[in-house]
Amino acid sequence: MRIDFDHICLAVKGTPLLRDVTLSVPDRAFVSILGESGAGKTTLLRVANGLAVHDEGHVLFDGAAVDDLPANKRGVSMVFQDARLFPNMSVLDNVAFPLKVRGVGKEERRAQAQRMLENVQLAGLGARRTHEISGGQRQRVALARALVANPRAVLMDEPFSALDESLREDMRALVLSLHESLDLTVLMVTHDPVEAITMSDQVVCMAHGAIEQVGAGADILLHPAAESVRNIFKDTVAIEGCVEDGEFRARKLRVPATIADGPALLVRTRAGVTTVKPLDERES
Protein backbone atom coordinates (compact mmCIF):
# COMPACT_ATOMS: atom_id res chain seq x y z
CA MET A 1 0.00 0.00 0.00
CA ARG A 2 1.32 3.43 -0.88
CA ILE A 3 1.25 6.08 1.81
CA ASP A 4 1.20 9.74 0.81
CA PHE A 5 1.59 12.71 3.12
CA ASP A 6 0.32 15.81 1.36
CA HIS A 7 1.35 19.14 2.92
CA ILE A 8 0.85 17.99 6.49
CA CYS A 9 0.95 20.75 9.12
CA LEU A 10 0.57 20.18 12.84
CA ALA A 11 1.04 22.59 15.71
CA VAL A 12 0.44 22.02 19.40
CA LYS A 13 -0.13 25.01 21.66
CA GLY A 14 1.42 27.29 19.12
CA THR A 15 4.55 25.20 18.59
CA PRO A 16 4.76 23.76 15.07
CA LEU A 17 5.63 20.06 15.11
CA LEU A 18 5.22 19.37 11.42
CA ARG A 19 5.76 22.05 8.78
CA ASP A 20 4.26 21.39 5.39
CA VAL A 21 5.49 17.79 5.16
CA THR A 22 5.02 16.11 1.80
CA LEU A 23 6.27 12.56 1.38
CA SER A 24 5.46 9.49 -0.63
CA VAL A 25 6.12 5.98 0.73
CA PRO A 26 5.97 3.56 -2.22
CA ASP A 27 4.10 0.30 -2.05
CA ARG A 28 6.15 -2.48 -0.39
CA ALA A 29 9.02 -0.14 0.34
CA PHE A 30 11.02 -0.05 3.55
CA VAL A 31 11.37 3.61 4.47
CA SER A 32 13.18 5.00 7.48
CA ILE A 33 12.69 8.39 9.01
CA LEU A 34 15.87 9.71 10.53
CA GLY A 35 16.49 12.73 12.67
CA GLU A 36 17.22 14.23 16.07
CA SER A 37 14.79 14.16 18.99
CA GLY A 38 12.12 16.71 18.41
CA ALA A 39 12.46 16.54 14.63
CA GLY A 40 8.86 15.46 14.27
CA LYS A 41 9.53 11.84 13.24
CA THR A 42 7.21 10.18 15.74
CA THR A 43 4.56 12.83 15.16
CA LEU A 44 4.55 12.06 11.45
CA LEU A 45 4.17 8.37 12.22
CA ARG A 46 1.25 9.06 14.53
CA VAL A 47 -0.40 11.20 11.86
CA ALA A 48 -0.11 8.21 9.51
CA ASN A 49 -2.06 5.89 11.77
CA GLY A 50 -4.43 8.46 13.17
CA LEU A 51 -3.21 8.67 16.76
CA ALA A 52 -2.35 12.31 16.09
CA VAL A 53 -4.63 14.59 14.13
CA HIS A 54 -3.05 17.05 11.73
CA ASP A 55 -4.28 20.60 11.27
CA GLU A 56 -3.84 20.87 7.52
CA GLY A 57 -3.05 18.58 4.65
CA HIS A 58 -4.06 15.04 3.74
CA VAL A 59 -2.96 11.50 4.41
CA LEU A 60 -3.64 9.12 1.52
CA PHE A 61 -3.52 5.35 1.39
CA ASP A 62 -3.25 4.14 -2.23
CA GLY A 63 -4.47 7.53 -3.35
CA ALA A 64 -7.56 7.67 -1.14
CA ALA A 65 -7.70 10.22 1.68
CA VAL A 66 -8.03 8.67 5.15
CA ASP A 67 -8.08 11.85 7.25
CA ASP A 68 -11.55 11.18 8.63
CA LEU A 69 -10.88 7.53 9.37
CA PRO A 70 -10.32 6.78 13.08
CA ALA A 71 -7.12 5.09 14.18
CA ASN A 72 -8.57 1.66 14.70
CA LYS A 73 -10.05 1.50 11.21
CA ARG A 74 -6.99 2.40 9.18
CA GLY A 75 -5.58 -1.11 8.90
CA VAL A 76 -2.12 0.14 9.73
CA SER A 77 -0.42 -1.46 12.70
CA MET A 78 2.30 -0.11 14.96
CA VAL A 79 5.27 -1.37 16.94
CA PHE A 80 5.94 0.96 19.87
CA GLN A 81 9.30 1.68 21.44
CA ASP A 82 8.09 0.25 24.74
CA ALA A 83 6.33 -2.79 23.26
CA ARG A 84 3.04 -2.05 25.13
CA LEU A 85 1.96 -5.65 25.51
CA PHE A 86 -1.28 -6.18 27.44
CA PRO A 87 -0.33 -7.47 30.91
CA ASN A 88 -3.68 -9.16 31.43
CA MET A 89 -3.21 -11.51 28.47
CA SER A 90 -0.78 -14.31 27.71
CA VAL A 91 1.77 -13.91 24.93
CA LEU A 92 -0.40 -15.90 22.53
CA ASP A 93 -3.50 -13.87 23.34
CA ASN A 94 -1.54 -10.67 22.87
CA VAL A 95 -0.59 -11.74 19.37
CA ALA A 96 -4.12 -12.95 18.67
CA PHE A 97 -5.72 -9.71 19.87
CA PRO A 98 -5.93 -7.93 16.47
CA LEU A 99 -7.69 -11.00 15.10
CA LYS A 100 -10.03 -11.17 18.08
CA VAL A 101 -11.22 -7.61 17.57
CA ARG A 102 -11.88 -8.42 13.92
CA GLY A 103 -14.18 -11.24 14.96
CA VAL A 104 -11.98 -14.21 14.09
CA GLY A 105 -12.98 -17.38 15.95
CA LYS A 106 -10.92 -18.67 18.86
CA GLU A 107 -9.36 -21.73 17.25
CA GLU A 108 -8.51 -19.94 14.04
CA ARG A 109 -7.00 -16.87 15.66
CA ARG A 110 -4.90 -18.92 18.08
CA ALA A 111 -3.58 -20.97 15.18
CA GLN A 112 -2.66 -17.83 13.23
CA ALA A 113 -1.07 -16.30 16.29
CA GLN A 114 0.97 -19.43 16.85
CA ARG A 115 2.20 -19.31 13.26
CA MET A 116 3.20 -15.68 13.68
CA LEU A 117 5.07 -16.52 16.88
CA GLU A 118 7.00 -19.10 14.88
CA ASN A 119 7.80 -16.43 12.30
CA VAL A 120 9.45 -14.35 15.00
CA GLN A 121 11.16 -17.41 16.46
CA LEU A 122 9.22 -17.50 19.71
CA ALA A 123 7.33 -20.71 19.03
CA GLY A 124 7.26 -22.15 22.55
CA LEU A 125 6.41 -19.00 24.51
CA GLY A 126 2.71 -18.68 23.78
CA ALA A 127 1.55 -19.60 27.26
CA ARG A 128 3.88 -17.23 29.11
CA ARG A 129 2.73 -14.03 30.76
CA THR A 130 4.13 -10.77 29.45
CA HIS A 131 6.24 -10.10 32.50
CA GLU A 132 7.92 -13.49 32.27
CA ILE A 133 9.78 -12.80 29.03
CA SER A 134 12.83 -10.68 28.28
CA GLY A 135 12.89 -7.26 26.63
CA GLY A 136 14.02 -8.61 23.28
CA GLN A 137 11.32 -11.27 23.37
CA ARG A 138 8.72 -8.64 24.23
CA GLN A 139 9.64 -6.59 21.20
CA ARG A 140 9.32 -9.67 19.02
CA VAL A 141 5.88 -10.38 20.44
CA ALA A 142 4.96 -6.76 19.65
CA LEU A 143 6.19 -7.35 16.11
CA ALA A 144 4.15 -10.54 15.79
CA ARG A 145 1.08 -8.73 17.08
CA ALA A 146 1.60 -5.97 14.52
CA LEU A 147 1.82 -8.44 11.64
CA VAL A 148 -0.79 -11.05 12.48
CA ALA A 149 -3.79 -9.32 10.92
CA ASN A 150 -2.14 -8.70 7.53
CA PRO A 151 -1.88 -4.94 7.93
CA ARG A 152 -1.71 -2.71 4.89
CA ALA A 153 1.45 -1.16 6.34
CA VAL A 154 3.51 -1.44 9.50
CA LEU A 155 4.74 1.58 11.41
CA MET A 156 7.64 1.26 13.83
CA ASP A 157 8.65 3.86 16.38
CA GLU A 158 12.30 3.29 17.30
CA PRO A 159 11.55 -0.39 17.85
CA PHE A 160 15.10 -1.45 18.72
CA SER A 161 16.35 1.44 20.82
CA ALA A 162 15.50 -0.22 24.13
CA LEU A 163 17.48 -3.35 23.24
CA ASP A 164 21.20 -4.01 23.45
CA GLU A 165 23.36 -4.10 20.36
CA SER A 166 23.51 -7.85 19.71
CA LEU A 167 19.76 -8.14 20.05
CA ARG A 168 19.36 -5.19 17.74
CA GLU A 169 21.23 -6.94 14.97
CA ASP A 170 19.04 -10.03 15.27
CA MET A 171 15.91 -7.91 15.25
CA ARG A 172 17.00 -5.96 12.18
CA ALA A 173 17.61 -9.17 10.29
CA LEU A 174 14.23 -10.51 11.41
CA VAL A 175 12.36 -7.38 10.38
CA LEU A 176 14.01 -7.33 6.98
CA SER A 177 13.27 -10.97 6.30
CA LEU A 178 9.64 -10.49 7.29
CA HIS A 179 9.48 -7.42 5.09
CA GLU A 180 10.59 -9.60 2.17
CA SER A 181 8.48 -12.65 2.86
CA LEU A 182 5.27 -10.83 3.74
CA ASP A 183 5.53 -8.07 1.10
CA LEU A 184 5.00 -5.34 3.65
CA THR A 185 5.17 -1.57 3.41
CA VAL A 186 7.23 -0.45 6.39
CA LEU A 187 7.73 3.04 7.76
CA MET A 188 10.25 3.09 10.58
CA VAL A 189 11.43 5.90 12.81
CA THR A 190 15.00 5.63 14.03
CA HIS A 191 17.77 7.84 15.33
CA ASP A 192 20.48 5.40 14.29
CA PRO A 193 21.82 6.50 10.91
CA VAL A 194 23.60 3.25 10.11
CA GLU A 195 20.42 1.33 10.76
CA ALA A 196 18.51 3.66 8.47
CA ILE A 197 20.90 3.59 5.53
CA THR A 198 21.47 -0.16 5.56
CA MET A 199 17.91 -1.30 6.08
CA SER A 200 15.90 1.06 3.90
CA ASP A 201 15.00 1.46 0.27
CA GLN A 202 14.57 5.15 1.08
CA VAL A 203 15.74 7.34 3.92
CA VAL A 204 13.88 10.48 4.96
CA CYS A 205 15.86 12.99 6.99
CA MET A 206 13.84 15.35 9.12
CA ALA A 207 14.80 18.34 11.22
CA HIS A 208 12.60 20.82 13.09
CA GLY A 209 9.40 19.41 11.69
CA ALA A 210 10.41 19.55 8.04
CA ILE A 211 11.92 17.11 5.58
CA GLU A 212 15.51 17.96 4.71
CA GLN A 213 16.28 15.17 2.29
CA VAL A 214 14.81 12.01 0.82
CA GLY A 215 16.99 9.47 -0.92
CA ALA A 216 18.68 6.11 -0.91
CA GLY A 217 21.15 5.39 1.86
CA ALA A 218 24.06 6.23 -0.43
CA ASP A 219 22.71 9.72 -1.15
CA ILE A 220 22.44 10.51 2.54
CA LEU A 221 25.93 9.24 3.05
CA LEU A 222 27.67 10.79 0.06
CA HIS A 223 25.56 13.76 -0.90
CA PRO A 224 23.99 15.30 2.17
CA ALA A 225 21.76 18.15 1.08
CA ALA A 226 21.75 20.07 4.35
CA GLU A 227 23.82 20.75 7.43
CA SER A 228 21.44 18.74 9.60
CA VAL A 229 21.83 15.73 7.31
CA ARG A 230 25.59 16.00 7.45
CA ASN A 231 25.44 16.15 11.20
CA ILE A 232 23.32 13.02 11.49
CA PHE A 233 26.46 10.94 11.67
CA LYS A 234 27.76 11.82 15.09
CA ASP A 235 30.92 9.81 14.96
CA THR A 236 33.05 7.94 12.54
CA VAL A 237 31.11 4.92 11.36
CA ALA A 238 32.36 1.68 9.94
CA ILE A 239 30.03 -0.61 8.04
CA GLU A 240 30.96 -4.13 7.06
CA GLY A 241 29.88 -5.41 3.71
CA CYS A 242 31.33 -6.63 0.48
CA VAL A 243 32.17 -5.25 -2.89
CA GLU A 244 30.57 -6.78 -5.96
CA ASP A 245 30.57 -5.43 -9.48
CA GLY A 246 32.13 -2.13 -8.46
CA GLU A 247 29.62 -1.57 -5.67
CA PHE A 248 29.96 -1.76 -1.90
CA ARG A 249 26.94 -3.59 -0.53
CA ALA A 250 25.73 -3.82 3.03
CA ARG A 251 22.16 -5.02 3.15
CA LYS A 252 20.39 -2.40 1.08
CA LEU A 253 23.19 0.15 1.04
CA ARG A 254 24.80 0.51 -2.37
CA VAL A 255 27.86 2.73 -2.69
CA PRO A 256 30.08 2.84 -5.79
CA ALA A 257 33.52 1.42 -5.03
CA THR A 258 36.68 1.13 -7.04
CA ILE A 259 38.44 -1.62 -5.17
CA ALA A 260 38.43 -5.28 -6.05
CA ASP A 261 35.54 -7.58 -5.20
CA GLY A 262 35.52 -9.16 -1.78
CA PRO A 263 34.76 -8.36 1.84
CA ALA A 264 35.09 -4.65 2.52
CA LEU A 265 34.66 -1.99 5.14
CA LEU A 266 33.05 1.36 4.47
CA VAL A 267 34.33 4.09 6.71
CA ARG A 268 32.88 7.55 7.02
CA THR A 269 34.80 9.94 9.18
CA ARG A 270 33.19 12.61 11.26
CA ALA A 271 34.40 15.14 8.74
CA GLY A 272 32.34 13.44 6.07
CA VAL A 273 35.01 11.63 4.11
CA THR A 274 33.86 8.21 2.92
CA THR A 275 36.22 5.47 1.89
CA VAL A 276 35.82 1.80 1.10
CA LYS A 277 38.68 -0.42 2.12
CA PRO A 278 39.15 -4.12 1.61
CA LEU A 279 38.56 -6.17 4.69
CA ASP A 280 41.01 -8.99 5.17
CA GLU A 281 39.13 -12.12 6.29
CA ARG A 282 41.84 -12.96 8.74
CA GLU A 283 41.42 -9.61 10.51
CA SER A 284 37.70 -9.72 11.04
Binding site: V53, D55, D68, L69, A71, A83, R84
Partner: protein, 280 residues
Amino acid sequence: MCSKKRQGQACGKGTFWARIYLVVHLVLVLIPIAIVATWSVSAAWPWPSLVPASLTTRGFETVLADSSTGLGSLWLSIGIAIACAAFTTCVATLGARAICLHTWRGRRIFEFATMLPFLIPGTVFAMGVQVAFIRLGLARSVGGVILAHSIVALPYAMSIMCDVTRAAGRRMEETSLTCGAGRLSTLVHATLPGLAPGIASSLLMCYILSFSQYFLTLLIGGGTVRTFALVLFPYLGGGDRTIAGAYGIVFIAVTLTVFLVFELLIHKLRAVEEIAYYES
Protein backbone atom coordinates in the same frame (compact mmCIF):
# COMPACT_ATOMS: atom_id res chain seq x y z
CA MET B 1 -14.99 21.80 21.93
CA CYS B 2 -13.93 21.03 18.33
CA SER B 3 -15.13 22.69 15.20
CA LYS B 4 -13.28 21.04 12.37
CA LYS B 5 -14.53 17.79 10.97
CA ARG B 6 -10.90 16.79 10.56
CA GLN B 7 -10.66 16.68 14.33
CA GLY B 8 -13.12 13.82 14.13
CA GLN B 9 -10.91 11.28 15.77
CA ALA B 10 -9.53 13.34 18.62
CA CYS B 11 -12.76 15.05 19.56
CA GLY B 12 -15.43 12.76 18.19
CA LYS B 13 -18.90 11.67 19.09
CA GLY B 14 -17.61 9.66 22.02
CA THR B 15 -16.01 12.66 23.66
CA PHE B 16 -19.10 14.79 23.06
CA TRP B 17 -21.51 12.36 24.73
CA ALA B 18 -19.06 11.80 27.55
CA ARG B 19 -19.12 15.52 28.19
CA ILE B 20 -22.92 15.57 28.18
CA TYR B 21 -22.83 12.74 30.75
CA LEU B 22 -20.49 14.78 32.94
CA VAL B 23 -22.69 17.87 32.72
CA VAL B 24 -25.72 15.84 33.83
CA HIS B 25 -23.65 14.37 36.65
CA LEU B 26 -22.51 17.84 37.75
CA VAL B 27 -26.08 19.11 37.80
CA LEU B 28 -27.08 16.15 39.99
CA VAL B 29 -24.17 16.94 42.30
CA LEU B 30 -25.06 20.60 42.66
CA ILE B 31 -28.83 20.26 43.12
CA PRO B 32 -28.76 18.95 46.72
CA ILE B 33 -26.26 21.63 47.67
CA ALA B 34 -28.44 24.30 46.10
CA ILE B 35 -31.46 23.03 48.03
CA VAL B 36 -29.60 23.13 51.33
CA ALA B 37 -28.30 26.60 50.49
CA THR B 38 -31.80 27.86 49.79
CA TRP B 39 -33.15 26.53 53.06
CA SER B 40 -30.25 28.06 54.95
CA VAL B 41 -31.44 31.56 54.15
CA SER B 42 -35.20 31.08 54.15
CA ALA B 43 -37.25 32.56 56.94
CA ALA B 44 -40.53 31.07 55.82
CA TRP B 45 -41.07 28.59 53.02
CA PRO B 46 -44.60 27.32 53.30
CA TRP B 47 -46.21 24.59 51.24
CA PRO B 48 -46.63 24.60 48.30
CA SER B 49 -44.48 27.46 47.04
CA LEU B 50 -41.35 26.71 45.03
CA VAL B 51 -39.31 29.59 46.40
CA PRO B 52 -38.93 30.82 49.97
CA ALA B 53 -41.48 33.41 51.03
CA SER B 54 -38.95 35.43 52.96
CA LEU B 55 -35.23 35.37 53.63
CA THR B 56 -33.22 35.72 56.81
CA THR B 57 -29.72 35.51 58.10
CA ARG B 58 -30.63 34.10 61.51
CA GLY B 59 -29.40 30.67 60.50
CA PHE B 60 -25.89 31.89 59.84
CA GLU B 61 -25.98 34.15 62.86
CA THR B 62 -26.64 31.16 65.07
CA VAL B 63 -24.03 28.99 63.44
CA LEU B 64 -21.30 31.60 63.40
CA ALA B 65 -22.11 32.95 66.86
CA ASP B 66 -19.17 33.23 69.16
CA SER B 67 -20.21 30.32 71.35
CA SER B 68 -19.30 26.75 72.00
CA THR B 69 -22.03 25.63 69.67
CA GLY B 70 -21.08 28.10 66.99
CA LEU B 71 -17.61 29.26 66.07
CA GLY B 72 -16.17 27.49 69.07
CA SER B 73 -17.14 24.08 67.78
CA LEU B 74 -16.01 25.07 64.29
CA TRP B 75 -12.50 25.94 65.44
CA LEU B 76 -12.33 22.83 67.56
CA SER B 77 -13.31 20.65 64.61
CA ILE B 78 -10.81 22.33 62.31
CA GLY B 79 -8.08 21.87 64.90
CA ILE B 80 -8.88 18.22 65.44
CA ALA B 81 -9.10 17.58 61.72
CA ILE B 82 -5.74 19.21 61.03
CA ALA B 83 -4.09 17.29 63.85
CA CYS B 84 -5.60 14.04 62.65
CA ALA B 85 -4.54 14.73 59.06
CA ALA B 86 -0.96 15.55 60.01
CA PHE B 87 -0.60 12.59 62.38
CA THR B 88 -2.21 10.02 60.10
CA THR B 89 -0.28 11.17 57.04
CA CYS B 90 3.04 10.92 58.89
CA VAL B 91 2.22 7.46 60.14
CA ALA B 92 1.00 6.38 56.72
CA THR B 93 4.10 7.74 54.94
CA LEU B 94 6.36 5.67 57.19
CA GLY B 95 4.17 2.61 56.94
CA ALA B 96 3.88 2.86 53.15
CA ARG B 97 7.66 3.01 52.94
CA ALA B 98 7.90 -0.18 54.96
CA ILE B 99 5.44 -1.96 52.69
CA CYS B 100 6.65 -0.74 49.31
CA LEU B 101 10.40 -0.44 49.63
CA HIS B 102 11.36 -3.29 51.93
CA THR B 103 10.73 -7.01 52.03
CA TRP B 104 10.32 -8.43 55.49
CA ARG B 105 8.44 -11.09 57.35
CA GLY B 106 4.99 -9.97 58.33
CA ARG B 107 4.74 -7.38 55.57
CA ARG B 108 1.57 -8.84 54.10
CA ILE B 109 -0.07 -9.14 57.54
CA PHE B 110 0.90 -5.57 58.35
CA GLU B 111 -0.52 -4.27 55.09
CA PHE B 112 -3.75 -6.11 55.72
CA ALA B 113 -3.97 -4.95 59.33
CA THR B 114 -3.71 -1.32 58.27
CA MET B 115 -6.52 -1.87 55.79
CA LEU B 116 -8.83 -3.35 58.42
CA PRO B 117 -10.65 -0.10 59.26
CA PHE B 118 -11.82 -0.18 55.63
CA LEU B 119 -13.36 -3.57 56.23
CA ILE B 120 -14.84 -3.41 59.73
CA PRO B 121 -17.29 -0.54 60.20
CA GLY B 122 -16.35 2.40 62.39
CA THR B 123 -19.57 1.97 64.37
CA VAL B 124 -18.50 -1.49 65.51
CA PHE B 125 -15.07 -0.19 66.45
CA ALA B 126 -16.55 2.77 68.31
CA MET B 127 -18.92 0.68 70.39
CA GLY B 128 -16.29 -1.93 71.07
CA VAL B 129 -13.47 0.38 72.12
CA GLN B 130 -15.41 2.90 74.17
CA VAL B 131 -14.99 1.13 77.49
CA ALA B 132 -11.25 0.70 76.98
CA PHE B 133 -10.83 4.36 76.09
CA ILE B 134 -12.77 5.36 79.21
CA ARG B 135 -10.48 3.25 81.39
CA LEU B 136 -7.37 4.63 79.69
CA GLY B 137 -8.59 8.17 80.24
CA LEU B 138 -8.75 8.79 76.51
CA ALA B 139 -12.49 9.22 76.41
CA ARG B 140 -13.96 12.70 76.66
CA SER B 141 -10.62 14.14 75.58
CA VAL B 142 -9.55 15.84 72.40
CA GLY B 143 -6.52 13.56 72.24
CA GLY B 144 -8.70 10.48 72.34
CA VAL B 145 -10.91 11.83 69.59
CA ILE B 146 -7.91 12.60 67.39
CA LEU B 147 -6.57 9.11 67.99
CA ALA B 148 -9.89 7.51 67.10
CA HIS B 149 -10.21 9.61 63.93
CA SER B 150 -6.68 8.72 62.93
CA ILE B 151 -7.40 5.03 63.24
CA VAL B 152 -10.33 5.12 60.84
CA ALA B 153 -8.49 7.47 58.48
CA LEU B 154 -5.39 5.23 58.36
CA PRO B 155 -6.40 2.95 55.46
CA TYR B 156 -7.31 5.90 53.25
CA ALA B 157 -3.96 7.54 53.92
CA MET B 158 -2.07 4.25 53.53
CA SER B 159 -3.53 3.45 50.14
CA ILE B 160 -2.72 6.92 48.84
CA MET B 161 0.84 6.84 50.23
CA CYS B 162 1.47 3.31 48.98
CA ASP B 163 0.60 4.38 45.45
CA VAL B 164 3.00 7.32 45.44
CA THR B 165 5.76 5.51 47.29
CA ARG B 166 5.64 2.59 44.90
CA ALA B 167 5.69 4.93 41.91
CA ALA B 168 8.51 7.09 43.23
CA GLY B 169 10.66 4.15 44.30
CA ARG B 170 14.17 4.74 45.48
CA ARG B 171 15.39 6.44 42.32
CA MET B 172 15.71 9.96 43.62
CA GLU B 173 17.16 8.93 46.96
CA GLU B 174 19.80 6.73 45.44
CA THR B 175 20.77 9.51 43.08
CA SER B 176 20.99 11.97 45.94
CA LEU B 177 23.11 9.65 48.08
CA THR B 178 25.52 8.98 45.24
CA CYS B 179 25.89 12.74 44.86
CA GLY B 180 27.16 12.78 48.41
CA ALA B 181 24.12 14.22 50.16
CA GLY B 182 23.51 13.28 53.78
CA ARG B 183 20.43 11.41 54.97
CA LEU B 184 18.55 14.50 56.09
CA SER B 185 19.37 16.40 52.92
CA THR B 186 18.22 13.44 50.85
CA LEU B 187 14.99 13.28 52.78
CA VAL B 188 14.23 16.94 52.27
CA HIS B 189 15.46 17.40 48.72
CA ALA B 190 14.92 14.02 47.08
CA THR B 191 12.37 11.88 48.91
CA LEU B 192 9.74 14.34 50.09
CA PRO B 193 9.35 16.28 46.82
CA GLY B 194 8.66 13.00 45.06
CA LEU B 195 5.99 12.09 47.59
CA ALA B 196 4.55 15.59 47.87
CA PRO B 197 1.44 15.20 45.72
CA GLY B 198 0.50 12.04 47.61
CA ILE B 199 1.12 13.68 50.95
CA ALA B 200 -1.12 16.60 50.03
CA SER B 201 -3.80 14.22 48.79
CA SER B 202 -3.60 12.19 51.98
CA LEU B 203 -3.77 15.27 54.21
CA LEU B 204 -6.88 16.38 52.41
CA MET B 205 -8.59 12.98 52.64
CA CYS B 206 -7.86 12.62 56.36
CA TYR B 207 -9.02 16.14 57.02
CA ILE B 208 -12.35 15.51 55.31
CA LEU B 209 -12.81 12.22 57.16
CA SER B 210 -12.13 13.74 60.57
CA PHE B 211 -14.23 16.82 59.96
CA SER B 212 -17.16 14.62 58.88
CA GLN B 213 -17.06 12.14 61.76
CA TYR B 214 -20.18 12.00 63.89
CA PHE B 215 -20.73 8.62 65.50
CA LEU B 216 -17.14 8.05 66.49
CA THR B 217 -16.79 11.52 68.02
CA LEU B 218 -20.07 11.03 69.88
CA LEU B 219 -18.98 7.79 71.47
CA ILE B 220 -15.36 8.64 72.22
CA GLY B 221 -15.84 12.33 72.94
CA GLY B 222 -18.80 11.49 75.13
CA GLY B 223 -20.52 14.78 74.49
CA THR B 224 -17.65 16.68 76.09
CA VAL B 225 -15.76 17.18 72.86
CA ARG B 226 -18.35 19.09 70.87
CA THR B 227 -17.21 19.12 67.30
CA PHE B 228 -19.06 20.91 64.53
CA ALA B 229 -20.49 17.65 63.21
CA LEU B 230 -21.81 16.82 66.68
CA VAL B 231 -23.52 20.20 67.03
CA LEU B 232 -24.95 19.96 63.53
CA PHE B 233 -26.42 16.46 63.70
CA PRO B 234 -29.44 16.97 66.00
CA TYR B 235 -30.74 19.70 63.69
CA LEU B 236 -30.80 17.28 60.79
CA GLY B 237 -33.55 15.18 62.26
CA GLY B 238 -36.20 17.78 61.66
CA GLY B 239 -37.36 20.97 63.19
CA ASP B 240 -35.49 24.09 62.28
CA ARG B 241 -34.51 23.70 58.65
CA THR B 242 -33.04 27.19 58.44
CA ILE B 243 -30.44 26.53 61.11
CA ALA B 244 -29.83 23.02 59.82
CA GLY B 245 -29.26 24.44 56.34
CA ALA B 246 -26.94 27.11 57.68
CA TYR B 247 -24.84 24.53 59.51
CA GLY B 248 -24.70 22.51 56.32
CA ILE B 249 -23.56 25.40 54.18
CA VAL B 250 -20.89 26.49 56.65
CA PHE B 251 -19.65 22.89 56.79
CA ILE B 252 -19.39 22.70 53.02
CA ALA B 253 -17.84 26.16 52.74
CA VAL B 254 -15.10 25.43 55.28
CA THR B 255 -14.29 22.06 53.75
CA LEU B 256 -14.26 23.60 50.27
CA THR B 257 -11.81 26.29 51.36
CA VAL B 258 -9.43 23.74 52.88
CA PHE B 259 -9.82 21.64 49.77
CA LEU B 260 -8.98 24.53 47.41
CA VAL B 261 -5.87 25.36 49.43
CA PHE B 262 -4.70 21.77 49.14
CA GLU B 263 -5.59 21.57 45.46
CA LEU B 264 -3.40 24.54 44.62
CA LEU B 265 -0.64 22.91 46.61
CA ILE B 266 -1.05 19.56 44.86
CA HIS B 267 -1.17 21.21 41.46
CA LYS B 268 2.09 23.00 42.05
CA LEU B 269 3.71 19.84 43.32
CA ARG B 270 2.42 17.46 40.68
CA ALA B 271 4.68 18.94 38.05
CA VAL B 272 7.53 17.35 39.97
CA GLU B 273 7.04 13.68 39.23
CA GLU B 274 5.49 11.83 36.35
CA ILE B 275 3.91 8.85 37.96
CA ALA B 276 4.16 5.52 36.18
CA TYR B 277 1.18 3.42 37.11
CA TYR B 278 2.14 0.18 35.56
CA GLU B 279 4.91 -1.51 33.71
CA SER B 280 4.57 -4.03 30.94
